[in-house]
């Protein structure tokens, strides 16, 4: 079987300057009035060039967006449930988009089944302050999916064992 992974854009789409921008910003922008000017100084190109390249990476999908990244756990959202659903493959794109549009779903992906142990093909991360809150949200997803929900499970996190984030080496 061919590798089913989402094809990544060619690595050549990112050149050495883009890479330096990634390294300079992957831990966040400095919280100053002109953060990109500081990035430009580190990278060694004019600020207009940095802005142009970040916009290009955004168009190409290498940057999802430039945004605030909250710490769910510190904000009190401590019941983190990975919900997994067995839905018909031919409807997974339509249903995945509908589930992803729910405001309490942070990530939503189609992933492969591993039969017979793992029948689920749609993964949606649900955050809540308590398990009861997560369970109410799971019921909402189940209602949305209707009979396309052929089975589901909620995998609560028991412990975070490691979190380093994704890092390019400088």
């Amino acid at each position: 079987m061919n590798d089913p992974r989402v094809p990544a854009p060619p690595a050549a789409a990112l050149d050495e300057i883009d890479r330096r921008i990634v390294v300079a910003t992957q831990a966040g922008l400095p919280l100053v009035p002109e953060p990109w000017a500081e990035v430009a100084r580190q990278v060694g190109v004019p600020v207009a060039e940095v802005l142009r390249r970040v916009r290009r990476m955004q168009r190409r999908g290498a940057v999802r967006r430039v945004a605030l990244v909250p710490n769910h756990y510190a904000l009190g959202f401590r019941a983190n449930g990975m919900t997994v659903w067995d839905v018909p493959d031919e409807r997974v794109a339509e249903l995945g988009r509908a589930v992803a549009a729910l405001p309490f779903v942070s990530h939503c992906y189609q992933r492969p089944r591993h039969l017979p142990e793992w029948p689920y093909n749609l993964f949606a991360m649900v955050h809540g302050r308590t398990r009861e809150e997560v369970e109410a949200k799971v019921a909402e997803i189940a209602a949305l999916l209707g009979e396309a929900d052929r089975g589901h499970a909620v995998l609560y996190s028991r412990r975070l064992l490691k979190k380093t984030g994704l890092r390019l080496r400088p």
Partner: protein, 155 residues
């Protein structure tokens, strides 16, 4: 699970967290633009953001990169670890530098981790090395389609 107290956020903190998750414009003064949309001044926004970050309530403000689009690859993997081996196996998995996140979850599939590498071909090599080292099967769950839209936590 115990209900934890709400962190001390006032109404403006909440508006900032809710609004800025949607994104900032890629311009020379992004915080001035965002502050204007919130009806506050740039200095107030920067001061609030610094405080939220120092308190650990905000991880960062900046570009959100897609690892696989940077020329590398990322996958989600899971294992069914016998409970009596969990501590040992979890520590061995976390020790791999390519393992970015590692969670214990309540299920027979009880160990879930993200493997991120700079070159695509190395993901398989890392998963195989974990299988060799633990003697347990590693299930690979690469992303087939991404439906992210929401990605927004209302506080």
């Amino acid at each position: 699970m115990a209900v934890v107290p709400e962190p001390a956020l006032d109404a403006l903190d909440r508006r900032i967290i809710n609004r800025l998750q949607e994104g900032l414009p890629v311009v020379e003064r992004p915080f001035a633009a965002a502050a204007e949309a919130l009806g506050i001044d740039e200095g107030t926004l920067l001061e609030r953001l610094s405080r939220l970050r120092e308190a650990g309530l905000v991880d960062r403000v900046g570009p959100m990169y897609r690892a696989e689009a940077l020329g590398g690859d990322v996958t989600l993997a899971a294992m069914q670890v016998p409970p009596e081996r969990l501590e040992d196996v979890a520590a061995r998995v976390s020790a791999f530098p390519e393992v970015a996140h590692n969670y214990e979850r309540e299920h027979t599939f009880n160990l879930w981790f993200v493997v991120a590498v700079e070159r695509p071909e190395a993901v398989g090599r890392v998963l195989a090395a974990i299988e060799r080292e633990t003697g347990l099967r590693v299930y690979d769950f690469p992303k087939l389609q991404e439906f992210c839209l929401g990605l927004r936590l209302e506080v």
